[in-house]
Symmetry: C2
Subunit: 226 residues, 2 copies
């Protein structure tokens, strides 16, 4: 009885969180969905009214997103949606290669449930492809890479990966929704899942590395056209 009450309170605290966190989540989502394009300015007063919070509270939310590299603060000029360039793409992929391959190699941490999560993301992508629902495929792809990193079982690594994936969404919107971008990587995901389940972490890592490099090239090329 007492426990349930305490739990209830804790749940509300974590679910509701603060106004600043909620505002941050809304903005994060708007950017992720591409409703706020790269480079759009976010005037504090207008935005605060739109979100129904005070300017101070909004500023806390904006600071969060700046820390996440989703927004960029230009001193005395305001906050704008980040417009990543080729260097950003290169760096994000550098880090992804390092982290994701590292997680693959650390086979000691690959518990059955973590491997199952990877497999689940693979089939999720296959199902989406069968329906030609490319948004679902893109989403499944993110789940796949999130699950690969989660193989390491590290909260800090998971958090870092979350930031990287948020930046990735910026990339995609910047180069215009490339519907079939993830199409060719479905088979790769499956193959990597196979290798991981077979305990061949090193092989999975090398395969993932070249896969990521190829995706990076594709993105860089798309950026060069813009």
């Amino acid at each position: 009885m007492l426990d349930t009450l305490a739990d209830e309170r804790r749940r509300r605290r974590t679910v509701m969180s603060t106004s600043a966190d909620r505002a941050a989540r809304v903005l994060r989502e708007q950017v992720a969905e591409g409703r706020l394009a790269c480079g759009t300015r976010l005037p504090e007063e207008r935005l605060a009214r739109a979100l129904g919070v005070s300017r101070n509270t909004l500023r806390e939310a904006l600071s969060q997103l700046v820390a996440e590299r989703i927004l960029v603060r230009e001193p005395h000029r305001g906050v704008v949606v980040a417009t990543p360039d080729v260097d950003d793409v290169a760096d994000v992929y550098r880090v992804r290669r390092l982290i994701e391959t590292g997680a693959c190699r650390d086979v000691a941490a690959h518990t059955p449930d973590r491997l199952a999560a990877v497999r689940a993301a693979v089939v999720e992508g296959q199902v989406g492809a069968a329906r030609e629902d490319w948004a679902a495929v893109a989403s499944a792809n993110q789940h796949f890479h999130r699950a690969v990193v989660a193989l390491a079982g590290s909260p800090r690594l998971d958090a870092q990966m979350e930031l990287l994936l948020a930046e990735m969404r910026l990339f995609f919107h910047r180069m215009g929704s490339a519907d079939t971008f993830h199409r060719p990587y479905l088979a790769e995901n499956a193959a990597i899942a196979d290798l991981l389940e077979a305990g061949r972490g090193d092989d999975a890592a090398t395969r993932l590395a070249s896969y990521l490099s190829s995706a990076e090239r594709q993105l860089v090329e798309a950026f060069a056209r813009v």
Copy 2:
């Protein structure tokens, strides 16, 4: 002429920054130096007066440090200095092993100046040891690991490492300043620098991995005693 003016402005903007950033920097430093022990509460009103900023501004600073895991926010109860536990130690070292060994293996990125920075940190530690200045040795050790990560040439990885090193400082203060903690690793640092300069990134990585694991064990043991 015009360039210098623009540079001047940019320099002042980055040096002075905002009040919130300055407050955050002061607090970060206080925690890093151990003047604010783990678990100490940070009441907003008092702290704001002490730092000479308004409460709203202080809250922005606190949010930054919470995002950096240096402070922890307990809803409606305030912000306290984080008190890491054994799991945190394990996770930080998991991530460090992954990132630092990854940076070692990526020999293609090891430019001469980056390798020189690693070497410089090694001799800095040796100089400190010769003087039996253990604070200097600890500092040099941080520089060494920072330089190792910087081998990868990734701003995002550098930022991540900065967070991890800040957490490490918390660990050390929590287990009481272990003067000679870094002593045995001086030789290891030198050996790893040698391997890196010889282009043997894989060997450097494995050596660094066991080095980090041993340091982790030592820290976990120290934590268990507390």
